[in-house]
């Protein structure tokens, strides 16, 4: 593999290329989507998924895994559609409390040296249970300002694209370019050396979990802004989507190797994969299976590229 393109470049190009491939396929199958309105419709639901994926990315960055993010986003959606709408003060307090709870989880996992998979698995029950308690039957109403924000119709470029680009850039600047971000990522790469250098790993883990909680809250609010009402199971599939999104975007499970831009692209690719499959008029029985197959194909491509990378 000594082509004109270096494997390293190819590797970083893989996420955008996958996204482009799936977009082109959709445009080909359904040319009408190639419009302001069509893109808006296609990418709308990608915004909350992208936010949840960024949340998951912060957790993966410190070598942990969050299996509760789907339940968490559901709970936020339920709170947003009820308390935040009816009694804003209580709603804001509850959401702030949830972010604090996430930071607390980070502390608990770090201090007691617990496996994050198991703790977050337990928490997924807790979040879902709380969501059922807050909103026993589907319903509620999105606060008007969130609804207004999510249905913005800016000139020329559809809102979901602006939101996605903005999100990717802000998080990229913070975690990849700032001094703070470098320290935070270092906690995933080499925690011991970071600790020797005098940083508190506890504080770093709490910060990362709080950030994840913050973006989880944003995700839930954005979701309710789109759907206008909530139910307790609304975002359960986000757990798997967010993990897959980070990995599709070039992130790794260990070592603090993450890419916010990749994660957002990965989330959008996954969100579009669903639409693509329905445009294909694929037998609905195979829809989920095809999503799994797409994931496997992209990962297989990445392995091929990595192999070429080690060879050169």
């Amino acid at each position: 593999m000594s082509g004109p393109v270096s494997p390293r470049l190819l590797r970083s190009l893989l996420p955008p290329l996958s996204l482009a491939a799936i977009l082109i396929a959709i445009f080909y199958l359904q040319p009408r989507t190639m419009s302001y309105f069509g893109l808006n419709l296609l990418l709308n639901l990608a915004v909350p998924i992208a936010l949840a994926t960024i949340a998951q990315m912060f957790i993966l960055c410190v070598n942990e895994l969050d299996l509760s993010i789907g339940g968490f986003v559901s709970l936020v959606a339920c709170i947003t559609a009820t308390w935040l709408h009816d009694t804003p003060l209580l709603g804001v307090a509850a959401l702030a409390g949830l972010i604090a709870a996430y930071a607390g989880l980070g502390a608990l996992i770090h201090l007691r040296n617990l496996p994050s998979i198991v703790v977050t698995l337990g928490m997924s029950f807790v979040w879902l249970g709380l969501a059922v308690l807050v909103l026993p039957t589907p319903g509620g109403k999105a606060p008007d300002y969130i609804r207004a924000l999510m249905t913005l119709k800016p000139a020329l470029v559809p809102f979901p694209i602006i939101a996605a680009v903005g999100l990717a850039l802000v998080v990229h600047l913070f975690i990849m370019r700032s001094a703070w971000g470098t320290v935070l990522r270092g906690a995933g790469g080499n925690p011991r050396s970071l600790e020797r250098a005098g940083w508190s790993l506890l504080r770093i883990k709490m910060t990362m979990f709080a950030l994840a909680g913050f973006f989880g809250v944003l995700s839930g609010m954005a979701l309710v802004g789109l759907t206008t009402s909530a139910d307790a199971n609304i975002a359960l599939r986000y757990t798997l989507l967010s993990i897959a999104g980070v990995i599709l975007g070039g992130g790794e499970f260990v070592g603090g190797r993450i890419s916010p831009i990749g994660a957002v692209i990965g989330a959008m690719t996954l969100a579009l994969a669903g639409s693509f499959l329905s445009f294909l008029r694929l037998n609905p029985d195979w829809q989920i299976g095809a999503q799994g197959a797409i994931l496997i194909i992209v990962l297989a491509l990445r392995v091929l590229i990595s192999r070429a990378e080690t060879r050169t």
Partner: protein, 315 residues
């Protein structure tokens, strides 16, 4: 004194104590009424948990990152295909069982091929593959619920002296697994790989062969569980495996097996499975609603893990 200390150090102890405490609390609330029936139900449902948890335990013991998330899909696929093939005919039971096990083995081979050939982390590999298995199950079954053959249904609900027969069977299975884990080359290999894969390799253990066998074993057990569960619950449903994703991992960890790998414990599986079932029963008895029940289940699982983990970080 030292015997007592050794007993307290047993990793399975907490799960069993928890199960006992929860059962006693339920019995106290109902003045002992129906606590025998509760125990019998716990043994039956616990048996299903233990079958999948045995496989999951071997996989998790392989070391960090090893976990099989395709268990629910594998159960559903094995359950639906075997039920449809048997079509309720008693004579087809051996074929159905063989088919369920074969599907499980095929799922395991697929999982491991993705992990080994494509170098996909096991979590993502088993997850993506499970989507495909789930789709295959939906496509095969078309929403029909085929009744299991009567002898199979009778077998899964039979009792000997009040003890569910299936529980006895799974206790024997667990004993076999315990011997395999602690006394055979394979089991020792699994533990060694979990402690240090490189050292195990240098010691001459065929690492990849053992990993392959473990993933296949885990999926075959999931297939078996799907077969038996479909027989028990009057047919295979597409969501029959759902709760087994979380509970298979929870049972393994609460049972005292290390999530970081390299240390497994079979007796704890039974304790943890009974504990989980009895916990939900207790909350039901207390009249807790679905929401509260889930919150408490989650908090108690975390509480048990915090209590059982013991070691604070030494830094």
């Amino acid at each position: 004194m030292s015997a007592a200390r050794r007993l307290l150090g047993q990793p399975w102890l907490w799960a069993w104590l928890g199960a006992l405490a929860v059962w006693l609390a339920t019995a106290a609330y109902t003045d002992g009424k129906g606590s025998g029936e509760v125990l019998s139900a716990a043994l039956t449902f616990g048996a299903f948990f233990v079958i999948v948890a045995l496989g999951q335990m071997f996989v998790i013991t392989l070391g960090p990152g090893n976990v099989d998330l395709s268990i629910p899909a594998c159960m559903t696929l094995a359950g639906t295909v075997s039920m449809k093939t048997m079509g309720g005919a008693a004579g087809m039971i051996p074929l159905g069982l063989a088919l369920a096990l074969a599907i499980g083995a095929a799922v395991g081979v697929t999982n491991f091929a993705l992990i080994r050939l494509l170098r996909i982390p096991p979590i993502i590999a088993t997850l993506s593959a499970s989507f495909i298995f789930q789709s295959a199950a939906i496509w095969w079954n078309r929403g029909l619920r085929v009744k299991p053959p009567q002898p199979l249904a009778d077998f899964t609900t039979a009792k000997i002296a009040g003890i569910p027969f299936i529980a006895i069977l799974v206790i024997v299975l667990a004993l076999v697994a315990h011997v395999v884990l602690t006394r055979t080359l394979y089991g020792r290999g699994v533990i060694a790989i979990g402690q240090n894969m490189r050292a195990a390799h240098l010691a001459g253990i065929r690492v990849e062969r053992i990993r392959a066998a473990t993933y296949i074993l885990c999926a075959a057990l999931a297939g078996l569980c799907g077969f038996l569960l479909a027989g028990f619950s009057g047919g295979a449903a597409l969501n029959m495996g759902e709760e087994y994703l979380l509970s298979s991992i929870a049972v393994v960890v609460i049972g005292g097996t290390s999530v970081a790998g390299g240390f497994a414990n079979v007796p704890g599986l039974w304790g943890a499975a009974l504990f989980l079932f009895l916990l939900v029963t207790m909350l039901n008895t207390f009249g807790a609603g679905a929401g509260l029940r889930m919150v408490l289940t989650g908090l108690i699982i975390i509480g048990v893990i915090v209590a059982a983990s013991g070691g604070t970080r030494k830094t």
